[in-house]
Subunit: 372 residues, 4 copies
């Protein structure tokens, strides 16, 4: 009632645009948000498109002029879910207008652009968020809590994977994903694997990359073939500042895999296994268990693992992908209200972008690289 | 925009009251609903409670007088999520006022009451729904579709389970769940197992029940013990009208189980396995697969399994428990709009209640019973 | 070297005849057996068949006259793995000749026959064994040990299954398995489920059976169809003497299942899950685990679980089906040496046979039956 | 009967010595071996040790003089299962005496030694085998067959792991495994991962290694600490000659892992997943499956997957680790009989040793290396 209003402007209404709108719908009910969120204006490529999406997603207004919307004093927060190529321009415009910005990943095709964006936001004093929603899973919070509390002892090794299969079809035409600037699987999916790795184990200090183009040419849409130079599978060896070693792998040609965002963490006293394919579970091995009774135990998400209990008071009922986005939005609003730090801001997005570029540079140069 | 409004009155704001509100929030964005849903009034035991819940869940008004709300001409649909003991009185009042009613399960403690409710609704011409949300899972729709399309051949046997562990603590006090009228696990959880069985294989013709009180007395809250006569574990043999045989089991003392709503269906050409613990998966064995390559395959929910694609365009991302409730609400609204039959109305709820009572009677009498 | 010799006579060289020979080969090396086992004579239907099998399996002699072999003073132990129909006659002949007898299951088609066999053996003072090899799994020993040590608290409920799919083909001809005397799935597979149930939880006091013929007629091999009256799926409710309740199910038409010998045991402090499909694992839930860290843990067989360590000093390497038979043989030899009780003798086989018949009688009569 | 005799001399009676003896016991019964195998002489460090082991494992003679045994004209094949440090000397002596040699892995601490051994055997015309038993699994044969038959289409990427946890305890003393010559996890376990990778996908052309010492010092057994320079975790990027890319990882500090010998193979039409933790299963995804019915299917080992049927005529019953060794021995005997090529001879062992050294050299030099 007496909550301050927060008026949202959304650019884009595709997969992620919808997910943002869904997330606010859910977050407003599930959480005690610090704001009264108003879905104010939805901007899309055409007015017709924007109007239909606004109606479907519950926005009060629609526009085909994202610049006008960004400049509109009525708007407090701008969400950028337009195609990747526009992320930078739109975000910078919003920042310049003094808006808080939630931008879908990737921040920008190049780290230099991402840096410009992060610095602009910091200079302008607005708050930012990047959509790394896998990190919003209560089971990832649990994993990090267990690691930080020493339940696994000293962390010795790590393996992270993000593999899907949406680029397996060699007859599918060359797309923006194959574009040498900003494309490739390490940027698209490996960024998630890197973000999870640092979320759990802290900063990565050095990397050795291996980026591979498995489908060397794709149809150019005009009857010919266009060479592909971006990576379809990419791997990296990692050294964390903590001293632990590890690896990540990203693939978008992993036939049959829909959401293999997995990790394995091995410590001196225990281990954790996780797969996003069953993301309401975390598997924990404790060397402290009695001999003959040891084994990986399947912890199911429940009210003991905040904020799961916000969604459901009973354990084992499971939250969904869109709920992760709702947690993401709620975290951002807490940051806007000043009651919590930004969960994953442009600065952190820049960090991931730099890691991606360092991995790719390392791969090209065939040598280890420091991450900064 | 031009959609007709549908004004919701909700009674209760506990686990299920919240879930209903969440469901409307999600459904309004995910589906193209036939109505503009207005969360109009929330009624709860005290005005203070109601006001806080209304604010949190997005209802415009709050009241401590559910009777007044039910009678209010502004309300189109009444949702009953108050304690089980009130389901009948509230639903009947809403029906009498000409409202459509969505009531949480169970409909009523006794089938005779449920029958009264179903008949009242039918006589009054209002539409009804009962909250059997597990049936709203796209993977259950898939399972039924596969069975009906003959992909498993002739169905020969079935096993259904619904087991949780929230009543394992023998030192927990006697509660309404232990009440001889309407309590017991076959009513509380077995009803789900029975509903799923009929959803998949059609009507059950005969049952042989086995209802067991495993914890014979519980603290009465006054220093003494109170005998328990309701069932903690209950089983039934089944004969379907199709000729297939099967069984169901319900337990609320299955230590470690949080959501074991499982089934196994075996046919002459294939089989299906499902567990609600991983409810975005369905495991399918096809005898048509090539020799040496046969095996249960793990189908992950995706856009091929409507309405999953409404929530997410990418497979394997997973929907959550609250999303099942959103699907449930959307189905109800389609029924209200007249574009689809009621997915699970009071008549069906009565059917389940009768099945539960038949199983329990069969158990008491130690003989097979027709389900009528 | 100085071990006494034990001379084996084997009748039959099919699946189980081979398995017995394999088992001795393995047991002789893996265990420190109390005897020097000599594979003395193999008897089969024809001399040629017997000679080839003897050569392949390492028996010194071959014969087509099992009666002569049984009477041969050189033979100490007779193994009966001939077709079921001959189990009684052969076993009784061996007992009469004063031989110890290892008979494959089932002991006999009828409990009355089984009783005659058990009593004959006891009267003659010879030792006997029946091949219930699933009970020889170290993980079953572990499960029983955990239950008896109270690690699960008071046992409240049980579910056991034995399902395979070798009788799914309705066009396969009527066979001895469909014979009204001694055939049916409760006898063939349900016997295993019942044996495991009593192995883990102790005596069953009462049962209520449900035996179903799912494929009502099969080809008679002469162009016609022959009605089938034996059970393809059979279920039973159980009451254990301990007070726990439970159920078993047997099916040989469970399409896709090759070896679903499963159980779930729920107690007041913990639970166990097991499937023979992965029989080197036992899943254990302990309510004593810290809140937020609870879950079923996958215990992998290892040297902590005797006699696994005899086969392999490293955990997780897994033993196989034939190794279970080797453990079975070693247990029998210990009994013959007088250092341990008979693991599963004719008396216990009679017990299982009686349980099977009681379940079937209960099913026919549609009423609960005491097991006597 | 008329089979030629093959007289075995075994050096060593530890884990692997026993496994070899077990394997012959099983193989002799399960397979139709081309020889009558005689377990002739067992050599161990002391006569007493040798005699006890010979008695337990069924060898006719015992000796503490392995040189004499190797020179004994009565011996046809020498099995070397003594500590790694003796593998070379013993094998060369046996080769020099004209014996066929089965040596446990690793062949030798250095590839140069391994080469000497392979060349000596080839020059002398004797046959050899190295114990890479994981390759003997029928499910690996199936995987290779599927890959070679094109069931996965063009192979694009690969991930292999071999992780266990027997070196997790930092307080365990420095051992031969930590010795700079020949020690380290890439040699001990990574060799398996490399062998499986080449078994499935053919020759590896280039590698980039990352070998890590996670526990930098271990007790020296005299109250002090001794620095460790060998690898506890080691990874490699791979390029196969086929053009596919991949990786392997080896770890002996993977807390909780007992036998994580896993692989994932992704092709243009399908994928395979495997874990040695459940080595009777292979998971297969086929892009040819109907839309909406696709998923990884769990193929259980059965008679369709030779030589499983030799062990058991029924699918899903599972073979064990020792059975893999029996398959290994049978393959060697076929090679000795001249009816099949050597399954994994010293030349192949040399290849693996070279790969290990190349990975380690690559790691030290921090650059990609060709494998030859």
């Amino acid at each position: 009632m007496s909550k301050p209003a927060l008026r949202i402007g959304l650019i884009g209404s595709g997969f992620m645009g919808k997910a943002h709108a869904f997330a606010y719908g859910t977050a407003a009910k599930v959480f005690d948000l610090p704001f009264e969120v108003e879905l104010h204006t939805l901007a899309d490529a055409s007015l017709d498109l924007a109007q239909r999406a606004a109606s479907a997603l519950g926005f009060a207004h629609a526009t085909s002029d994202w610049r006008a919307m960004v400049a509109d004093p009525a708007i407090d927060v701008v969400h950028v879910t337009a195609p990747n190529a526009f992320h930078k321009e739109m975000s910078l415009a919003a920042v310049a207008a003094g808006k808080h910005v939630h931008c879908e990943k990737p921040l920008a095709p190049r780290a230099s652009d991402a840096r410009e964006m992060a610095e602009a936001a910091e200079a302008r004093g607005v708050k930012t968020q990047l959509g790394f929603n896998y990190l919003c899973n209560p089971m990832l919070a649990l994993a990090r809590e267990m690691i930080q509390a020493g339940e696994l002892g000293e962390i010795r090794s790590y393996r992270g994977i993000h593999a899907e299969d949406y680029m397996t079809d060699a007859s599918a035409p060359f797309s923006f994903r194959n574009d040498p600037v900003g494309g490739g699987v390490m940027a698209d999916l490996g960024s998630h694997a890197l973000a999870t790795a640092e979320f759990l184990l802290g900063p990565i200090a050095r990397v050795m990359g291996d980026a591979v183009t498995a489908i060397p040419a794709r149809p150019d849409g005009q009857g010919g073939m266009r060479p592909v130079t971006t990576d379809d599978v990419a791997r990296a060896f990692l050294r964390f500042e903590s001293g632990a070693s590890g690896s990540v792998e990203a693939s978008w040609i992993a036939m049959g895999r829909k959401m293999q965002h997995d990790f394995e963490v091995y410590g001196s006293k225990g281990a954790l296994l996780f797969t996003q394919e069953r993301f309401n579970e975390l598997h924990f091995y404790s060397a402290d268990d009695v001999r003959g009774r040891q084994g990986f135990r399947r912890i199911e998400a429940g009210p003991a693992h905040a904020p799961y209990g916000r969604f459901c008071v009973a354990p084992g009922h499971q939250i969904g992908f869109n709920d992760l986005k709702a947690i993401e939005m709620a975290g951002f609003l807490d940051a806007l209200a000043g009651t919590a730090p930004e969960p994953f801001n442009f600065r952190k997005g820049l960090r991931i972008q730099e890691l991606v570029e360092t991995v790719l540079a390392s791969s090209r140069e065939e040598r280890w690289r420091e991450t900064t």
